[in-house]
Structures are given as structure tokens and as C-alpha cells.
Symmetry: C2
Subunit: 362 residues, 2 copies
């Protein structure tokens, strides 16, 4: 019997003469984490210990190691899968988790997005065009202040409005007060704008927040899986198949899990319909190449899983809409926050300009 | 009114002429995340927007920025606090979250360890000596195989035995079958050895696992807070004040949150009685200086919070016991896994040798 395996792909920055030993080290670290010579159980040796499948020189001081990790060790649970893929090896500054190939059983077990890009388009009545989004800010405003801003954005006809990821359940704007009021303000415009409140805390708190969302007629949420814990994220997705889930990149770190893999495969596998990431040319350092690879991965084939819509963000402006549509095509959700918020009284008009620019391009 | 603030300390690797702007950028990113000029609410400007307190040249190409973050924005919730400290800035490869000073209100709100180093010593009947620990491995063994190893370690008189962090709730060794059997084998030795099973999954799953622990007479657990989600970790600590919590470093990353701060303050603030970290000279790259700083921080003053015991690990051996005791002193828990497991039939004797070496040094 041969155990089913995930092929995890690591990039190692080290000398050529050390790299084979490093790859073997990762295979052991990410499985049994003990001297293999001391293992007497043949089943463990055959089916549990990680196996180096190949090591090759990528030519830029980096080596690619492909390592087979036993599916059984993941328990088909999101947190434990992340633990097995990268738990201890994350502490090595010269190792990146670059990618992984998942067998169909793993894809089926986790299930991916409930809606995906097509479902999100249906939610807002869009055809094949790009989607639009803005962010409610600043945190610190009372519920009515945020509701007023949301109303202006919705008047402009935006498809989605998400909470700033810094908006949680703070004393100055409790989730239970804020969400119904904002949802009401958005609905009052008569537009199909979908409001995505930001979840915070642990599973029990997030479940209570989703309950508040349901009562308020809200159809989706924002969540930062690397802060919430990926098991919590995945559980909420499976429990709420009618809800849209937008994944936020908080605490995803400086690229030690390659962004195309983290956003395009992992978060999607666990159920993100949309993945927010740091676009090139904004406040963060992703290159155009990384952003393109991320978008292509999120939209590309992954078993029968639905596609996640890439959401480039982080200091985007109205002026960049044509360029971003050129770069990403129509399968994208453009997120412009601060630039719209800076419009003050003209926010609804600027939001409409953003929406029209995207609709006209379709 | 002046809002209460956490002073977060970031290290920035950038040119001197850019560093003031970078610091201002972090202060905005980690608070309102929008152009400050577009904020009209005076309360938000005064009490919510992050404030640069100082920037200074550390002389090694790195600058220290001290930034006041409003306590109110954290909602006094662990996940949101991490989000406010480092959520988006974690994506900048040239920024490290080096440290933070917490006001007393924050320390009190989170509460820290229920037991701390003194409580762990009482649990195992140790006086002022160092504590000992080993790790149950390899995953893949059935419950009775792990129980046999645990019995040998407990026969040797070790203070603590933790599950390997790769042991979760897998088909080959279900938590519900494994934990009672191992606990029974440990208890049967008549020694005071405390067994720490590894929790996995989300809050609800972990609560069920702790219930199984209670029924089996287990008094503590191992958890990887960066995988579980820190809100989940903190909730479990507060719900189970009689349990010991050992924090595991999986997914703590390549030092982008400085290890002395992450292990010595953050995980302790949220309730870790013991913090496992990668010792120098083992399989990972922490320097002796980082390890010493981590231990000093975990044991040092932090309001009225109990001290967390540092647990240097990652390829430690019996031969290194004297050197490690010399380096860390007595306020430490030494964790030796693979080296004991390699002893095969002589595991109980080797464990006794480890235990005696530590007791004799006291």
C-alpha cells in the first residue's frame, strides 16, 4: 500500500552542496520530526515520513525541493494541514513554501469556495465584467458615521463594500449596533451593493457575528484567516454555504508562504470566494509578476473547485482603473478605499465614476 | 482626554532619508489605514490614529520607530490586538515588530499565565531546579505504541511529556483513543509526570479535546497559537484556569515578530505557562543572543503577570544539558525529544539520566 501524498514545494536558499541534506531535513521536520534511524515501525517509515521527490537548481541561488507529505498526517483539517506544510520550517528564513499539489481527495475534503467569482457576479447582477469594492473607514467612527459613508458608496452603485479590516468589535462601534445600521443604510439606496462586515475573535464570537449579519440581511463577510486561524475560517465557510467569504491578507507575512500559493490555492481551498492582496505599485512590495501569478492561480484550475476572484488593493486609485483592468482583465475585483474616502461630500459621485469606469470597460 | 496607548516598537531597514515617512506610514497603516487628511472627525484624529513617538538610528542599517497605538482599537481581544500591532505591516519584508510596551489595563485585561513557572514547578513537585520535558513521537504510531513510549519516559521520572506538535486527531491515532491510553500509561508509573496532549482544530474541537483530557485526568495541553488563532488560545486559557498551557512555535515565521517579544511577552500575555522555542545550536537559526533575550523577557517583569518558563528545543541532546543549564540557569524547562527516542529499549534509563542530571545541578 502506498500512502496518498501532497507534494509540497519548497524554495531553499543555500549552497548546492548542502541542499540535498536541507531537503531531507524538511521532509523529516514536516512529518515525524525525529531521527528516522530511531523509527522501528515499518508503516511509519513507509507511509508517514516525508519523502524527497526531487531537488533542482532554479539558477538564482535558490533550489526547489519537492517533498511528498502523507495526507493522513493532515487529518484533513485546515490548521493541521498548515502545520504539516510549514509549521516548523516557517522558522527558517531561507525556506519558502512555494506551492503544493493536492490530490483530489484533499480538494474534495476541503471543498473550496461556495460561490467563487461566478457566484459573486450573480450576487450583484454583474455579467462578465470586473467587480468593484470599497472599504469602510476610518475605524473610530460611531455606527451612524460609518453608515453615512456606506450609504454614499452604495449610492454610487459599487458592487461590494467591506469593512476596514481594522474594524472589529470595539467599544466605539459594537458589531451588534454597527452592522444592522450599515446594512440598512446600504439597502435603503435600492442598489444591489453587498456589504461585507469584518469578523473578529474566535469561532464562537464569529458565529454570533454571522447570526447578527443574517438578521440584518447581510450576505457575506470579511475575515483574516491567518489571524482567525484557518480551521476557524474553514469551519465558518462550511457552516454558511449561502454566505460570501472575502479573505483579508493581515498577518500573511513577508512572503514566506509564496503569495500565489497562499492566496490562490490555500485560502481558496479553505473557501475564500475573494482574496484581497497587496497590489504592485501601492503601499506594499509585491511585484507585478507575483500579482499576476496570484491572479492566474486563484482563477486557474484546482480540481472541481470554484475560482476565487483576485482583489488587488492597498493604495489603489481611480486613475489606475484602466491600467489595472488592462493588467488583470475582467476576472478581478478592484478595491479602492482611501482614494474614494478622500472625496468627502463627492464620495457618491466618485464611487459612481469608479463603477462606470469598470462597467464601460466590459 | 488622551486615549490610552500601547507603544509598539518596529525595526525598519531603510535609508535614513525615508525612515520618518516609513514610521508615519506604519502609524497610519496600523490604525485607520486611510489618508489622514481625509479624516474630519476630531476624536478619530486625536484618539484613534497611530502616533509616531520617536524614531532613532540603531546604527546597523536599522531604525527603531516607537508608535503609539490606541488601546481602544484592539477591543481588548487577542486577534484584533495582533491585527493592530502587525496585521498589514507584516507584509513588509523590511519591517520587524520588535517589541511593545503595554499599559497595565491591557496586561490586566488579558491576564497572562494561570500558573507560570512557579505553578508548573508545584505541579511536578520541583523546587527551584530546572524542569524536564520530552516529546512523544513519531506520529503515525497507534495509541498503544505512543503509550508504550510515554510509559518509558515517565518511568525515567521526567516532569513533562508533550505530544509531538504533529500529533493531532488523525485516523491512525484519534485524540479520544490516544489521550486516555497515554495518560493511563503515564499515571501507572506512579511518578508525577504531567502529560501534555496536543490540541488541534478550532475552538469547538479544542474544547472537546480538553473535555477528553479532563476525563482522563490530564492537567495541561500543548497548543500552537499562531496556527490555532490567538483568540482561540486566549479563550481556552481563560476557560481552563486549572490547566497548564504550553505554547508551540509552529508558524511563528522567520523572526518577523521578534522572538523575545512574541514568546516572552505576547504568548505570555495571552496565557502561555511555558513557551517552546528553537534553541541555538539545534536545527534552527536563533542566535544565543536571541535565545537569552527571549528567556530573560519571558521570566522578567510584565505588570503582575506570572513568568512563563522558556523551553529551548529543536534537536537538543543529553550531552548539552550542562551547557544549557549554564546558559539559562535554573529557570528553564529543558526539552529533549529525538535524542531520548533514539535510545530504543534504554529510553527509561536515558530519561532517568536526563532527569538526574537536572536534579543534581539544582
Amino acid at each position: 500500500m502506498t500512502a496518498e501524498r501532497i507534494t509540497a514545494i519548497y524554495h531553499i536558499r543555500d549552497d548546492a552542496n548542502r541542499v540535498d541534506a536541507r531537503a531531507t531535513g524538511i521532509a523529516v521536520e514536516q512529518s515525524v520530526e525525529m531521527p528516522v534511524a530511531a523509527i522501528t515501525d515499518q508503516g511509519v517509515l513507509d507511509d508517514i515520513v516525508g519523502k524527497v521527490e526531487s531537488v533542482r537548481d532554479l539558477g538564482d541561488g535558490t533550489f526547489e525541493a519537492r517533498i511528498g507529505l502523507s495526507v493522513a498526517t493532515t487529518g484533513l483539517e485546515a490548521g493541521q494541514m498548515l502545520n504539516m506544510l510549514f509549521g516548523n520550517s516557517s522558522m527558517h528564513p531561507d525556506i519558502t513554501l512555494a506551492d503544493a499539489d493536492f490530490p483530489d481527495s484533499v480538494l474534495k475534503a476541503f471543498g473550496g469556495p461556495n460561490h467563487g467569482i461566478d457566484g459573486l457576479r450573480r450576487m450583484v447582477g454583474a455579467q462578465k465584467r470586473a467587480l468593484t469594492c470599497s472599504a469602510l473607514k476610518p475605524q473610530g467612527l460611531p455606527p451612524q458615521g460609518l453608515a453615512k459613508i456606506a450609504a454614499q458608496m452604495a449610492q454610487g452603485g459599487l458592487d461590494f463594500i467591506k469593512d476596514d479590516h481594522g474594524i472589529a468589535d470595539q467599544a466605539y462601534s459594537r458589531f451588534a449596533e454597527r452592522v444592522p445600521r450599515i446594512a440598512e443604510a446600504v439597502a435603503a439606496t435600492g442598489n444591489r451593493t453587498v456589504y461585507l462586515p469584518s469578523l473578529s475573535g474566535h469561532l464562537e464570537q464569529m458565529r454570533a457575528q454571522i447570526k447578527i449579519c443574517r438578521t440584518a440581511g447581510v450576505k457575506g463577510v470579511l475575515i483574516a484567516p491567518m489571524i482567525a486561524g484557518v480551521a476557524t475560517f474553514h469551519a465558518l465557510v462550511r457552516e454558511n454555504p449561502d454566505f460570501a467569504f472575502m479573505g483579508h491578507p493581515a498577518l500573511t507575512g513577508p512572503g514566506y508562504i509564496a503569495p500565489p500559493f497562499l492566496f490562490g490555492k490555500l485560502l481558496r481551498l479553505w473557501g475564500a470566494d475573494a482574496v484581497v492582496f497587496a497590489n504592485y505599485g501601492g503601499r506594499f512590495g509585491y511585484t507585478p509578476g507575483t500579482c499576476k501569478a496570484l491572479a492566474v492561480t486563484a482563477l486557474g484550475p484546482l480540481g472541481d473547485l470554484k475560482a476565487a476572484v483576485p482583489v488587488p488593493a492597498g493604495g489603489m486609485t481611480l486613475a489606475r482603473v484602466p491600467e489595472m483592468l488592462q493588467f488583470y482583465g475582467r476576472d478581478v475585483m478592484l478595491l479602492i478605499g482611501g482614494d474614494l474616502l478622500s472625496a468627502g461630500d463627492r464620495m457618491a459621485q466618485e464611487a459612481a465614476k469608479f463603477q462606470n469606469a469598470v462597467m464601460k470597460a466590459a
